[in-house]
Amino acid sequence: MASQQFCTFHLDAYLFGVPVPQVQEVIRFQEMTRVPLAPEVVEGMINLRGQIVVAIDLRRRLELNERAAGELPINVVVRTPDGAVSLLVDEIGEVIEVEQGSFEAPPETLRGAVRSMILGVHKLEGKLLHVLDTEKACQLPVAESVAAS
């Protein structure tokens, strides 16, 4: 049976994973440039070797509790069709290999906007690995329309 490698990370009490090929790199927290008027989930922009990358606070994106003050998130830079995007997570986990057979779609009881961003879970021993749909997670509703006019 096919197996897949996931880069895992922690968000609040949950374990999340992104297929390894989608991850460009993982870097520690960097000073960010705030983007006024941007959607709330946009934490800011970072300079990734000359490339400007938008950092999305994944906790806010997935409607989880706010990170405690003073805790520095980690940048998981993922590749998307529209270029690299940094996802801010609490802590980075290890790379694990999972069998396709352990996968299950999210339960019907998972509702709301979050459902579209979670492809499903892999049932690991004693915990569930949430598989993040990075593309959806990086797709924000249209930032804002011109207030005037």
Binding site: N47, R49, Q51, I52
Partner: protein, 790 residues
């Protein structure tokens, strides 16, 4: 494909582009020896290279051209339009063959035996008789109309080539070379072909010096854009490392390290600058082919057109250059075909028979603007309305309601074409929407403006995705922002907030007597200002205390002709910045045009001045008020309930306000216009005798300065009611404001409704009808009678 062949193709295509320009130029200055020599050399280079690479047919065509050119160069033949067209056709033929080579690799010659046959015929007869002009002209058309199409469609090319060459046979202009050329053409490539196939690398050293010799000093190397991008990012990283090193060396107190790091600093900076420049290209690179396009189109449409180009050296990122090439070509063709009229029509309209097509490029508001304007017939709004309704693109009521400006932009809708007859140039209704789509693909906008009988201007605005622009760096709420220098007019620093007044809550500053609307960046961006109460649009009284305590930095900006002041926390420095696109997640925010990386490696947002102005509604009003004449620039924004008031001075201290709605015009006349009809002061105004009323006589000012007597001109507020017009002479017109005037009736005075405070001065609101009635008794009653009777 063989590297040599690839190089040859690239080089030859470039040479051909240059040939196009030079030939068109040659037509206007046929005696230029340098031009002829340069053209001859170019053709010769192509011919020579073909010889090495075994492209026999190509060589033959080039040879025919060369022979013709040598006659021109030696002065044995005068340059005529037919000759130029013939030569241009030859250029097109070569281009088609190059496209064939590109498509079928280096053995292209073998795939076109019948073409070679035709070429041989041409070689035989080509030197016999002159090209008849209609043939030459008609041949140049199809190729000229779709120069890029020829490159793309290799299958079409042999046909086109043949037709072009057919025109040649009748030309008597190549007398001497006759005998030598066919032999040369066949034997030489055969030998060369062998060389090329047996020793692929061998011809290279020979070819290079050959090509170099003609490159007239400019040494260039072809580098892939990917490599440049990578270099650019690496340099960015180097700069970061440099910055860290600098910080480290500052703390390390090591003189040696310090020296090295300073040196490194300089080198890295210079390297960064240069690498950034590698991606930029002047827009002239794509404009260069337009003289040829315009010439050919003008000939085929029977029009006379002069092409003017302004701002060729406006630099654009090369990816953008590529993307706008086709849309621009289409717009130029469109202007030629639909815009500029035929010479007779122009003469009938009282215009110069030669139409002018102007290309203009410039940076504005962090964007590159490209304008294609013609002085042709302009767009016919009614016809577009009709067509739009006919095609079901809009309803007739909608169309009737739409202002012309919006109507003109309907031409960008798919399937729209107003051309009365479909020409092979344009008019198929697929062009303009493609233009719009392509421009929008790179984040740009297209807008068309037109004046019937005067011409049409299409303006393409493209964002600078990767342009380097000088920018002012400001700080607001702890973040740095870059403001493109191009929209910057001046910087004003107020030592205290006192100089900020409000027009009904909207902050303004009097800059050299003109009201400058102020926009607080922190407020616009909805971020907490660094200092509390930086005079946001709160009532001046509440804010006054804090206001007066601190400095205010105003960046005076210009957006679509309207000046406004952007209040920021700090003004830092000016820097050359590299504009980078914002991530998709941030695209919709109109306040930013991009982002950039600052010297310390951090990201800063680039403010979009136009976007800011639109957000804060600085320019929306400006556009509406443009026709209000000379006071348009000081009209302030405001809500609907507010009234526009004209402020004027009466005597030294007195200020009066007149509702703008009652003011027909503001005029300034020399004193000498005042005449008398009986005791009544009158003047002649637009064919009428109008009574004049001196405001100072109706409303006695506190201290009557008799300013009127001391000046040579009078300021007249023209007041019109019905058909009657009255001139109200005031001492000085001060301003126009938007006020929701809280008028307090003080002591009742004739001609005054009451008083209110504006611009911190007590101002009398005039009861103009009452004043006029008092000064010119009977006038308004007559008006009233007139209105009753109608």
């Amino acid at each position: 494909m063989d590297e040599i062949v690839k190089d040859f193709l690239i080089e030859s295509n470039e040479n051909l582009d240059r040939l196009d320009q030079e030939l068109v130029k040659l037509e206007s200055e046929p005696s230029s020896k340098e031009l002829l020599a340069s053209i001859f050399r170019t053709i010769h280079t192509i011919k020579g290279s073909c010889g090495f690479l075994g492209f026999a047919c190509l060589e033959k065509v080039a040879h025919a051209g060369e022979s013709l050119l040598s006659l021109l160069r030696d002065g044995k033949l005068a340059l005529t339009e037919e000759v130029t067209s013939g030569l241009l056709a030859m250029v097109d033929a070569v281009r088609c063959m190059l496209a064939a080579i590109q498509a079928t690799e280096h053995d292209g010659e073998n795939d076109y035996p019948e073409l070679r046959e035709r070429l041989k015929q041409l070689q035989g007869g080509g030197e016999a008789k002159p090209a008849s002009s209609p043939a030459a002209a008609s041949v140049s058309k199809p190729a000229a109309v779709a120069p890029s199409a020829a490159e793309a469609a290799a299958t079409v090319s042999p046909e086109t080539t043949i037709r072009i060459l057919d025109a040649g046979p009748d030309s008597p202009i190549l007398p001497r070379e006759e005998s030598s050329s066919p032999a040369n053409g066949t034997s030489h490539p055969a030998v060369a072909g062998k060389v090329a196939s047996s020793q692929d690398e061998a011809p290279a050293p020979q070819q290079i010096p050959d090509a170099r010799a003609h490159d007239s000093g400019v040494e260039t190397v072809r580098v892939g854009v990917n490599l440049l991008d990578k270099l650019m990012n690496l340099v960015g990283e180097l700069v970061l490392a440099r910055n860290q090193l600098l910080q480290f060396s500052n703390t390390a107190q090591d003189a040696g390290l310090h020296t090295v790091s300073q040196r490194m600093n300089l080198i890295a900076t210079e390297l960064q600058e240069d690498v950034m420049k590698t991606r930029m290209q002047p827009i002239g690179n794509i404009w260069n082919k337009f003289p040829r396009t315009v010439r050919d189109l003008a000939h085929s449409c029977g029009k006379e057109v002069r092409l003017e180009m302004v701002g060729q050296d406006t630099e654009l990122d090369r990816t953008i250059i590529e993307a706008i090439k086709d849309p621009l070509t289409h717009l130029v063709r469109n202007s030629m075909d639909h815009g500029i009229e035929a010479p007779e029509a122009r003469r009938r309209a009282g215009k110069d028979a030669t139409g002018v097509l102007t290309l203009r490029a410039f940076h504005e508001g962090g964007q590159v603007n490209i304008e294609i304007s013609d002085d042709g017939a302009g767009l016919n709004a009614d016809r577009i309305r009709r067509k739009a309704v006919e095609r079901g693109l809009t309803s007739s009521e909608q169309a009737a309601r739409m202002p012309d400006r919006d109507i003109f932009n309907l031409i960008f809708l798919p399937g729209f074409s107003t051309a009365e007859k479909i020409t092979n140039v344009s008019g198929r209704g697929v062009g303009m929407d493609v233009v719009k789509t392509n421009v929008e693909k790179i984040g740009g906008t297209v807008d068309v403006q037109s004046v019937a009988g005067k011409g049409t201007t299409v303006r393409v605005k493209i964002p600078l995705t990767l342009a380097i622009i000088p920018a002012l760096i400001v700080r607001c709420s702890g973040e740095r922002f870059a403001i493109p220098q191009i929209s910057l007019t001046e910087l004003v620093r107020l030592e205290s907030g006192k100089a900020i007044e409000t027009v009904h809550g909207a902050p303004v500053h009097r800059l050299r007597g003109q009201l400058l609307p102020l926009v607080y960046l922190s407020q616009t961006l909805n971020v907490a200002p660094r200092r509390t109460g930086a005079g946001l649009a709160l009532p001046p009284v509440a804010e006054k205390k804090e206001n007066t305590l601190q400095n205010v930095n105003i960046v005076v900006l210009q957006a679509e002709g309207q000046a406004f002041g952007l209040v920021v926390d700090d003004i830092l420095d000016t820097e050359e910045i590299v504009v980078k696109p914002l991530g998709k997640q941030l695209k919709g925010i109109s306040a930013y045009s991009g982002a950039t990386i600052m010297g310390d490696g951090r990201v800063a947002l680039i403010l979009d001045v136009l976007g800011l102005a639109q957000r804060t509604q600085v320019i929306a009003e400006a556009r509406d008020s443009e026709h209000d004449g000379r006071h348009s620039e000081i009209v302030k924004s405001g809500s609907d309930e507010e009234h526009a008031l004209l402020l004027a001075e009466n005597g030294l201290e007195g200020r009066v306000a007149i509702p703008l709605s009652l003011v027909a015009r503001l005029e300034e006349f020399p004193r000498s216009v005042i005449e008398h009809a009986g005791t009544q002061e009158v003047m002649q105004y637009r064919g009428q005798i109008i009574p004049l009323v001196r405001l100072s006589q109706v409303i006695p000012a506190a201290s009557d300065a008799e300013m009127l007597a001391n000046t040579n001109s009078i300021q007249v507020v023209v007041y019109a009611e019905g058909k009657r017009t009255v001139g109200l002479i005031v001492d000085r017109i001060v301003d126009i404001v938007e006020e929701r005037a809280a008028v307090e009736p003080l002591t009742p005075r004739a001609g005054v409704v009451g008083s209110f405070v504006t611009q911190r001065q007590v101002t009398d609101l005039l009861d103009v009808p009452a004043i006029v009635r008092a000064a010119v008794p009977g006038l308004l009653d007559a008006v009233a009678a007139e209105t009753r009777s109608t």
